[in-house]
């Protein structure tokens, strides 16, 4: 039987339907395995701590009456529903989130958003003015803000922002109306400072094209902060923390009293953290970088924000002088199995760091949590093997594509991938920076071997059946190739599109033959229907 266009279209359509309907339950099965691993992950490999923190002045940290030094702790609590895209969809449309043009929504009356159409920010809020007679005058104001200025009316001469990112830290309090809002436009490569009180906008110097800075976030630097907790505790004395109105030490960046001095943090695409001078809108030097957590197949490259499932950065300043002292940074690896914590001083020099480790059962050897989670605890190996086998049910071609595209995904979205598997063991190997390309690829093929073996076995079955039903040699070859490439999907597609014909026994060769062909596709003999015995005579007219 020759291939017809209809047949090809039907096969492709069926194949696509099967791919989707098979990928979905495999996704849920893999998710179940991950949930099992996360739930059984012991506490010791979910947290890291550094004590003393290293950022307090000596007179505070080394006070003879100190009972306990200052401590910074990070803890990851992987949310089982993390891969659920619908939750991420709605959360990302909240103010300040990735998909949202809304940068503020504090009440019915106060809101601010970026209008893509005009390329300008729109701020609307209730402004309170104190009159000469001490009366407070409240009025609703709306401002349109572009790179060239601020106006109460829409005005094209204000210019257009193209791809702005704003510092949302100011919106945590109501003081944003009277303080500066820093933002950066990725395309214009300028920093801007918006001053709503004085109705002006200050533009910083443009970053040149060969400038390595590629800012992606300003101010509060965090990603998926609901799965990563980073907190800082001051030293304790007589069971009380050193806490006085004079020396108030701020615990988190969301502390309403936290007012940084002239610097804010800027996160670069490379994972480096820089200080930005709010007055001059120029970089004031490095502040540190996102620490690189361990992965199952270690990578030596510095972690970028896209490589991390979560990160959180906590700058430290004391109320007495609001002077920037340094920062703490915590990160969670792609797979959600390891956490790294680091402390950087005011000059961006790393002074302390910690990772999640555990002591496994064999000989008290310390193992990175990224390995321990998968193999080190009762039940974990079974779940890991189950996850591995589920991954191998995917079409080999997509599995292979996962290897080559391993670094192209953003970590959190990788957990929601349906067709490619950026969280698979093969993809992890693809991100392994240690070995040479050939060794890495061979290892990846080894990891894929169950998938390849299954695909070959299914392909042989398909080929045999296709011969029985009389498909042409060319068609059989295509099916063989398709099944090897797409594995189980190819096999199911074949079964669904296989010609639905009841074969009859050939009177000549005795093998099953198709009744819809003129000759037997096996022996080439012409048709004969032995069960029907028509009479020898005919009465026909011409």
């Amino acid at each position: 039987m020759k291939l017809s266009t209809n047949y090809i279209v039907r096969v492709l359509a069926t194949g696509f339907v099967v791919l989707i309907l098979l990928s979905i339950p495999l996704f849920w099965a893999r998710l179940l395995c991950n949930v099992g691993l996360y739930l059984w992950m012991p506490y010791e490999i979910k947290s890291a701590a550094i004590e003393p923190s290293g950022l307090l002045p000596d007179n505070l940290e080394n006070d003879p009456n100190i009972e306990r030094h200052s401590r910074v702790s990070a803890k990851m609590e992987i949310e089982p529903l993390l891969p659920i895209g619908i939750i991420e969809y709605f959360e990302s449309t909240s103010p300040g989130q990735s998909r949202s043009c809304l940068i503020l929504s504090s009440s019915e009356k106060d809101w601010a958003y970026f209008d893509n159409k005009s390329g300008q920010f729109v701020f609307r809020y209730v402004e309170t003015k104190i009159m000469p007679d001490s009366d407070k005058l409240k009025r609703e104001v709306q401002y349109y803000i572009g790179p060239e200025g601020i106006s109460e009316l829409p005005d094209k001469t204000l210019g257009r922002f193209i791809e702005p990112i704003a510092d949302n830290s100011e919106f945590k309090t109501s003081l944003w109306k009277s303080s500066k809002i820093i933002l950066y436009d990725k395309k214009l490569r300028h920093f801007f400072a918006i001053n709503l009180k004085d109705r002006n906008i200050t533009k910083g110097p443009q970053l040149s094209e060969d400038d390595t800075h590629r800012p992606i976030d300003i101010g509060i630097l965090n990603k998926n902060d609901d799965i990563l907790d980073l907190y800082w505790m001051p030293p304790t004395i007589n069971n009380q923390s050193i806490y006085s109105r004079k020396l108030r030490i701020h615990i988190t960046e969301r502390d309403p009293g936290y007012r940084p001095d002239r610097y804010i943090l800027v996160l670069d695409k490379s994972g480096r953290i820089d200080l930005l001078d709010k007055e001059t809108l120029e970089f004031a030097g490095p502040a540190g970088r996102l620490p690189t957590p361990a992965t199952l197949f270690p990578t030596y490259k510095n972690a970028t924000p896209d490589d991390l499932l979560a990160y959180r950065v906590l700058p430290v300043a004391l109320k007495e002088d609001h002077k920037y002292r340094g920062l703490f940074a915590a990160t969670v690896n792609w797979e959600g199995t390891a956490l790294a914590l680091a402390v950087f001083d005011a000059n961006g020099v790393p002074i302390k760091s910690d990772q999640t480790w555990t002591s496994v059962r064999r000989g008290n050897r310390r193992t990175h949590s990224s390995r321990a989670v998968l193999f080190g605890f009762p039940g974990a190996p079974a779940i890991t093997i189950g996850k591995f086998l589920l991954e191998n049910l995917h079409p080999p071609i997509l599995f292979l594509a996962s290897y080559f595209t391993a670094g192209s995904f953003e970590a959190a979205s990788g957990h929601r991938a349906l067709f490619l598997l950026p969280n698979s063991f093969v993809a992890m190997k693809g991100r392994d920076a240690r070995e040479n390309i050939a060794a890495r690829f061979l290892y990846a093929l080894l990891l894929m071997s169950p998938s390849i073996v299954l695909a070959i076995l299914l392909a042989l079955r398909v080929s045999k059946d296709a011969a029985i039903v009389g498909l042409s040699r060319k068609t059989r070859r295509w099916w063989l190739f398709g099944t090897i490439t797409f594995g189980l999907v190819g096999y199911i597609t074949y079964r669904l599109t296989r010609p639905k014909i009841t074969l009859v026994t050939c009177a000549n060769c005795g093998k099953p033959r198709r009744p819809d062909t003129d000759i037997c596709h096996r022996c080439g003999s012409k048709w004969d229907v032995p069960e029907l015995i028509p009479p020898a005579w005919r009465v026909l007219n011409g």
Binding site: F16, V17, L21, G85, Y89, F90, L418
Partner: protein
Amino acid sequence: MLTLIKREIRDHELFFIGSVILSAVLIGLSIATLDGHYWIELVTFDSPAGAIVLPIIIFGFFAMGAVQMNTDRIRKISAFISILSVSRNRILLAKIIAGLLAILIALVPLAVTVTILLRIHAPPIPIFYVMVLEIFSGTFLITLACYFIGLQAGWNSGRPIPAIVGLALTCILATLILIKGFTPEIIVILSLFIVASLIRTWHLFMSTPL
């Protein structure tokens, strides 16, 4: 063509009435919920109503597709009509148009109402309208995809296993919304799925003896 569509609508008027009722109930709920103070909630979508309504819509239209085809097979309606001056293509197209209309009746008035309510109560922030468009597009496409599964399941008349399999596949496909959310990605995936399902349904309908 219009005659065939009218025939389909009349034969399955219960589903159309159900669509109208559902739409009316949802519009009422929206008006009650989305008054001036609650537009912020639309952004975070705290209401669990969506989690209840969406499965009703999805499984309801799966059932419509299954019933359309199943009654056709049992009563041999297409066998009769195809003898008249009508091609099988048109018979199938009429069924699909009827199904589409039912889905649009359920969703479009609600989408229009929500948009109007947002215009009245919410600030003119584009994200809301983008969200409304994305959510309704996603809902429309997933419903249509499950409707096509129903058409294919219902065509195997009299046997329970294809219906059960169809229902299971609908459950599986519906979870795609959970996995991907209402992102543009799901619109692409579902659009391709719908085209592929349409091809399969067309082939099934055209090649099966009536």
